[in-house]
């Protein structure tokens, strides 16, 4: 606790400073490209950016969870090298992650004490002696946490308080919060903000990772905007507006243009009416969505991740039950949780996480080429045996037609680059002769050549009359490829309209949950049909 008090006096050197931070992941993705960051005692800094901008990576480096490829971290002006989060904690830096690290059946007190000095493998937690200190800390911070109830029975907002208390109990004076409000109700979020202000007044430095413009404007003192691994703006919150933050966050249109000729769409292939879907925690993630995707059009859904896109796509592709509503494929209602039935009726699905859903990384190219198609007669012989020659022939065809670079067909897909994995997956799905293609983040993390290739492929599919539903957190991708665009926020479409009616800044605002006002030519109200 001493640190918290000491930090109250404004110090000359920043509490922590990061200089020239680069981070290249083992798969070659450059997540951070020379980022400078500093935090003073007694301020709240908002770290703003789209998905993949590098916010979490930067803060994981500061909290010792990741190591920078290059660059240095200074604590109180002195260089520090963190081998693990414990090292960072010893320097007073603690991070509260989106996914909590609490032990559900343990009480709040036990969770706070777990892993502390004095608790050992063979020693009991010093509950009795520490209780007074934990309670004193809670009182001091004005946090209301029942100490003797198993945390699993506490609401998420209170669990978060336990998590924060756990960090502060270790003398943390730099508190990093990763998207803290994503699981909270608006009331809980307001309470969190009040608490963060109190912490600031006590001299704690707070970093708030978020993509929500409203939160940044409401609670922070300073904003740092990241895009594509670089700081693109740093301003005091007083001089920031939602508009300029949105513009900084989404940036200018980049190169990769794909030619898309005008084309009149045909009949609806996919019709969604009044769809409600719950997420894994049972919260309503998709709220009363209605839309059509027609022959020969790309319908793009933009939005920051975690606004219900995953649940929407999973519901449409037979991977998730829907709560209410109706989904029709070519006029016929689709069954839930029957992906094979959907494939038979013309669905191709490029899933959001290829390594998780679309490929079996330990299997070779041959076996991956029939994933999801393993029951088609062309790949089978009598007695349910696989027709190996036919499958090998087909795999070879995919590799040649979609330019998959691989040493040979028996290579485990794990050993291919992300771009080649995605070419194999997209090739497999496209060669099903589908009527509807649902693609989520189809070019995420890919090299430029593969990105352009896959985008062109999606446009070609549209040109030959397929219906394409494109869901992506990459705003450029959605605006460039789509005929019609919807912006998803909080499980709903905040706006739907032809893509050339949207300006980037408007979409940026919408993605941050701000509906622009007084802009007459913008599609405003949800107009689903």
């Amino acid at each position: 606790m001493a640190d918290v008090v000491d930090g109250g006096v404004s110090a000359p050197a920043p509490r922590v400073q990061m200089r020239g931070i680069h981070k290249v992941y083992p798969d070659g993705t450059a997540a951070l490209r020379g980022v400078d960051f500093r935090l003073h005692p007694g301020e709240i800094v908002g770290l703003l950016g789209e998905n993949g901008a590098g916010k979490s990576t930067l803060m994981k480096i500061l909290s010792g969870l990741l190591r920078p490829t290059r660059g240095e971290v200074l604590v109180e002006g002195h260089p520090a090298r963190f081998r693990n989060p414990s090292d960072a904690l010893r320097c007073g830096i603690g991070m509260v992650h989106q996914v909590f690290t609490l032990v559900p059946p343990f009480t709040a007190l036990q969770n706070v004490l777990l892993g502390q000095e004095g608790a050992g493998l063979l020693r009991a937690l010093p509950e009795a002696s520490a209780r007074a200190r934990v309670q004193a800390l809670l009182d001091e911070l004005g946090l209301d946490v029942p100490l003797d109830v198993p945390v699993e029975s506490l609401p998420v907002g209170v669990q978060q308080r336990v998590e924060i208390c756990k960090t502060l109990y270790r003398g943390t004076s730099v508190l990093i919060l990763d998207e803290p409000t994503s699981a909270l109700t608006p009331g809980e979020a307001d309470e969190l903000f009040r608490f963060l202000r109190r912490l600031r007044d006590r001299g704690v430095g707070v970093v708030l990772i978020t993509h929500k413009l409203r939160e940044v404007l409401e609670v922070t003192d300073r904003v740092v905007v990241l895009r594509q691994g670089m700081v693109v703006g740093e301003l005091s919150t007083g001089s920031a507006t939602a508009e300029n933050l949105a513009e900084l966050m989404v940036g200018q249109v980049t190169g990769l243009r794909v030619r898309r000729t005008p084309r009149a769409p045909g009949q609806p292939v996919l019709s969604v009416r009044g769809l409600w879907v719950r997420d894994d925690q049972g919260r309503l993630a998709v709220r009363d969505l209605s839309f059509d995707v027609r022959e020969g059009e790309i319908f793009g859904v933009a939005g920051v991740e975690g606004n219900g896109q995953s649940e929407l796509v999973q519901a449409l592709t037979g991977l998730r039950r829907f709560e209410a509503g109706e989904v029709r494929l070519e006029g016929q209602a689709v069954p839930t949780l029957e992906p094979l039935a959907l494939y038979r009726r013309g669905l191709a699905h490029v899933p959001e996480d290829k390594a998780r859903f679309g490929l079996a990384l330990g299997f070779d190219l041959v076996e991956n080429s029939i994933l999801g198609r393993q029951r088609e007669n062309q790949f089978l012989r009598g007695l349910g045996r696989l027709n190996r020659p036919a499958i090998v022939r087909y795999a070879r065809e995919l590799v040649e037609r979609f330019h998959v670079v691989a040493p040979d067909l028996a290579t485990p897909v794990r050993n291919l680059s992300g771009g080649n994995q995605q070419r194999l997956l997209v090739g497999r799905e496209v060669s099903k002769q589908p009527k509807l293609v649902v693609a989520m983040h189809p070019t995420r993390g890919l090299d430029v050549a593969s990105t352009v290739y896959i985008r062109e492929l999606l446009v070609q599919l549209r040109d030959v009359g397929k219906a394409v539903l494109l869901v992506s957190a990459d705003l450029d991708e959605v605006l460039e490829l789509s005929d019609r665009v919807a912006v998803m926020y909080g499980g709903q479409f905040l706006a739907v309209g032809p893509s050339d009616h949207f300006r980037r800044e408007t979409v940026g605002l919408l993605m941050g949950g701000v509906v622009p006002t007084g802009d007459a030519d913008q599609p405003r109200a949800p107009s689903p049909r």
Partner: protein, 347 residues
């Protein structure tokens, strides 16, 4: 390219076996015996004569089957350590048909074999159902089923299958239900062909059929399996049933395919630990049916050769069991090494 990739697990397994033998040598030396002489006796005892080799294979026969149980489980994404109990029930089922239900010669043999396999599979259905429909973790349920199977089998052996006047064992298999002995000087019977054949069949099933593909897919990546329309419950049941068939056959092989007892001991003494040993064999065999056969021969050789090692050099036969353990431990060395590197050796 392809062959080198396929042979890599084999090379790794051989390296860990070598590592285990070196560590075992240290252990033998620590107990005051000359490791060189001990290992010479071990190898001679296991492979020195034709009969020794056959005896090694006799030890290997049940192990390749219980290894198969574990290996199929891993391929299907399950940690099935229930081979032990499934094997007991397999032995009971085979004993019942072989000893108490007279039939014509070859039919009887086939019926007794199938009864053993079926009993193992039925016993495996309990954890399968608990997992598939109630989500109970298979490690817990198979351990509990092993204990229940132990006492149930002893009860059945003593009360239902007992031979009057012979309290220590069950009725022996009738001569019509015994696998032919391959050589008078060993206990190896033709059941070894059934065991190898079953392992090869499972191999062909897993890698050559649509259902086998889906089973392995569910084990490799459950989310991708869902995407491919594979029903998880079905895979769980299928995986357990195949494993139960293998374990049941292992149990049967010790009753109707292993002289001189041709029966189940009332203490289950002639089958206990074969199921657990199979886990180690499967690990050494990289959870592959063929690898399991090779691993079983290795462990069979240790069991058989260990006798001569004890007789000639005086190394306690318990040390051979320790050697088994050390080899299984050595399998973890590559992973352990990378763990140490991650944890302690980074800047």
């Amino acid at each position: 390219m392809r062959t080198s990739r396929a042979l890599r697990p084999l090379a790794e397994s051989l390296a860990t076996v070598a590592l285990g033998l070196v560590a075992g040598a240290v252990l033998i030396w620590a107990f005051g015996h000359p490791p060189g002489a001990a290992y010479r006796a071990l190898v001679l005892g296991a492979f020195g004569t034709w009969e020794d080799l056959l005896e090694t294979l006799a030890f290997a026969t049940p192990l390749m089957l219980t290894a198969l149980t574990f290996a199929v489980g891993v391929r299907g994404g399950l940690f099935n350590i229930g081979a032990e109990g499934q094997m007991y029930l397999g032995a009971v089922g085979a004993t019942f048909v072989a000893g108490m239900v007279p039939m014509p010669a070859w039919v009887h043999l086939a019926a007794a074999t199938l009864a053993g396999m079926a009993a193992g599979a039925v016993w495996a259905l309990i954890p399968a159902a608990l997992k598939a429909w109630r989500g109970a973790h298979e490690v817990i349920s198979t351990i509990m089923c092993n204990w229940i199977a132990l006492h149930l089998s002893m009860y059945l052996a003593i009360n239902l299958l007992a031979e009057p006047g012979r309290a220590e064992r069950t009725v022996p298999a009738l001569p019509t239900a015994r696998y032919p002995v391959l050589s008078e000087d060993s206990t190896l019977t033709a059941v070894v062909f059934v065991a190898v054949g079953f392992a090869l069949l499972v191999y062909a099933y897993l890698w050559g059929t649509r259902a086998g593909y889906e089973l392995r897919l569910a084990g490799e990546n459950p989310d991708a399996a869902r995407y491919a329309g594979v029903r998880p419950q079905r895979v769980v049941v299928l995986t357990f049933v195949i494993g139960g068939l293998a374990a049941g056959l292992a149990g049967a092989s010790q009753v109707i395919g292993r002289p001189p007892a041709w029966s189940l001991y009332a203490t289950l003494g002639n089958v206990t630990t074969l199921g657990f040993d199979g886990i180690g064999v499967a690990l050494v065999g990289r959870n592959h049916p063929i690898g399991g056969i090779l691993g079983a021969v290795l462990f069979g050789a240790l069991a058989q050769g260990g006798r001569l090692m004890e007789y000639e050099v005086g190394v306690l036969s318990e040390l051979v069991r320790a050697l088994n353990g050390i080899i299984v431990f050595a399998m973890a060395v590559p992973e352990l090494w990378s763990l140490i590197r991650r944890r302690f050796l980074r800047p």
